[in-house]
Amino acid sequence: MPDKTIHRLTILRSAEPLPEVLARHGFPLDLRCGGKGTCGRCLIKLLNGRWECDGQELPVPIQAKACQVRLLSDSGEIAIPEISLQQRNGKMSSDWAFGSLPECAEPVIAIDLGTTTIAAVKIHQGRILKRASCYNAQNRFGDNIIARISHAEGSAESLVELQRAAVASINELLAELEAENVSRIAIAGNTVMSTILHGIDPSPLGKIPFIPPLRVFPVRKASELGLKAEAPLYTVPAISAYIGGDLTAGLAELRLAPGEMLVDIGTNCEIIFHAPQGLVCAAAAAGPAFEGAGIHCGMRAVDGAIEHYFGKDKFSVIGDTDPKGICGSGMLDFLAVERQAGHLNEFGRLQPQRETVALAPEVFLHERDIAQLLKAKAAVASGILALEEHCQSQAGKIFLAGGFAQYLNLNNAIAIGMLPAGREYCIAGNTSLAGAAHLACQPDFTATLEKYIESPQEIHLNSLPAFEDHFIDNLMLS
């Protein structure tokens, strides 16, 4: 059964938007659309008081989107279902699968600053002492980098707001890791995250020609950015607007050899390929389907999510609870298992014909959800294949980075055509954090990183004629 916990609260009228009032009191809502009223994830029940939405007073009691309502009376009571809050206890990866840390006598901290989640480790004498992770509080301004750029463009204050949200989240981790005595902090993130953290307007990253305001970030005293630490903060430099420091970190850590490829599967799928002509890189917009967004019963890989699916009523759930929804790895299994069983045709339509399929008492997939998944997997596959075709060379070994890759069933990912068959795959883990850790332990690694950002040639996939063809080919299930 889903978590049926309901939080009843009395709200006092204020100028502040309701989600911000709630966040301040420890009830951060799921605002993945950035509070635009489009995702319907922040539903609450208005129990009493006078409320308005879109200039119209609402009859109470009524269910409403918290981001769209305003209290008119002095006070009002609301009920927030647990499911409308930001999910915690998520699977956040702070593991990586290769190399050892350089010797370093002083304690240091490394941070992977993701669009959605932030992971950090404290390292001493080549050993990880402690790990911590949390959601990026910027999530309330939208669940993707373009939404964040749009928000930052609004005004100087909104940029500050975003910067402070990231700082607040990182400070939580610094407190947990006891950052007072560390000698250095190093951080790796995508270009938008790094740019905003340094308080720089990210708007050039959102439009052609997508030129980053800064690729190499200065070493700053962490406290100058608002962080609760006096140590110097190192930032992994970015390759381009879409291939950020998180990828630079992975590239430098893996030292991609000719014929090797690094693929980071997320809302944006970033690819770096060591082709015969040198390093090339590209980003494909996979969309947030594998993160659970835009899918009826989709959720992130948090407690209650179906993580692996083996057939009707046969699945595993994160946290060993009853299933509340399904996350990316489970959806991918579903496509492979049900296609194999003949319950999905090559277009992803359910057989025999129907609109939805129940996976568990409260979890179903709709044919429209399946269409979203097909688009996401086609984006990953076509990105890899179009880039290879452009280079007239095939990768022999593919490193898969990122949290999603750690939990996916590789055979199923190949079976549904998200990843090409006949390659050697290596699950590399959080390579962004690995690179940041290396930099934190050994600050002269900066020189290596700065060398790496100069080499990859960026290819805009949309400019390759083969990309659309591969995309459409890969929409189908083989």
């Binding site: 439009k207 805009h460 949309n462 459409i472 929409l475 189908m476």
Partner: protein
């Protein structure tokens, strides 16, 4: 004699090789170009569009069918031009300045061609100058696409530039909404590729 039912079925199933074969055979047999379009390709494309609106087909099938349609159209296009076939009207489609996403825009272009319109594909990163050129070439509707919230505001500039002129501006793309279209004063909004065809139908009927 061309098997129009087979041609329609091949478009609907997205089988581009079959579409190419049947169209090529029809051309070789000197089949009437208008018949190939009006009895084969156009009804099939309208049908998939309708299925899409009724939630009986989804974006992947639409894209696959559209590509099959395009394969047939590529063979036909030189002949259509030579035949002097009268189209339903001329529409220009382009992804706006700052943005280079074109799969959605390409789909709209094919759906419009499939519905019987003459389509000028302006490509990506289109500035006002490009849209002006399209108007000079006789486009009566400009369809602007954007996939990024960061490039959406350019649509407003396009609308404002053409304000008071005869040409109509319609907009679409993942982050675009009817509200946004109303806010910037666009003449229409297409929620999806079939929605774009419907709004174009409507604007030409009103004209």
């Amino acid at each position: 004699m061309t098997d129009f039912a087979a041609l329609q079925a091949a478009v609907l199933k997205g089988n581009r090789n079959d579409v190419k074969d049947i169209v090529q055979q029809a051309i070789d047999n000197q089949e009437d170009i208008n018949a190939i379009l009006d009895r084969g390709m156009i009804p099939a494309m309208r049908e998939i569009g309708e299925r899409f609106s009724r939630n009986e087909a989804y974006v992947p099938e639409l894209l696959i069918a559209a590509r099959a349609m395009q394969a047939g159209l590529t063979l036909l296009e030189p002949l259509i031009a030579a035949s002097g076939r009268k189209t339903l009207g001329k529409v220009a489609v382009g992804t706006v300045k700052g943005d280079l996403h074109d799969i959605g825009k390409n789909l709209v272009a094919i759906m419009l061609k499939g519905a019987g319109y003459d389509v000028l594909d302006l490509g990506v990163n289109c500035d006002i100058g490009k849209f002006e050129e399209a108007v000079a070439q006789g486009a009566s509707i400009l369809a602007c696409s954007s996939l990024l919230t960061t490039t959406m505001p350019y649509m407003k500039e396009v609308v404002e530039h053409f304000k008071g002129r005869k040409v109509k501006i319609i907009i679409g793309g993942a982050p675009v909404t009817q509200d946004y279209a109303d806010e910037i004063g666009a003449d229409g909004y297409g929620e999806d590729a079939n929605g774009a065809v419907k709004i174009v139908d409507k604007l030409f009927q009103e004209a």
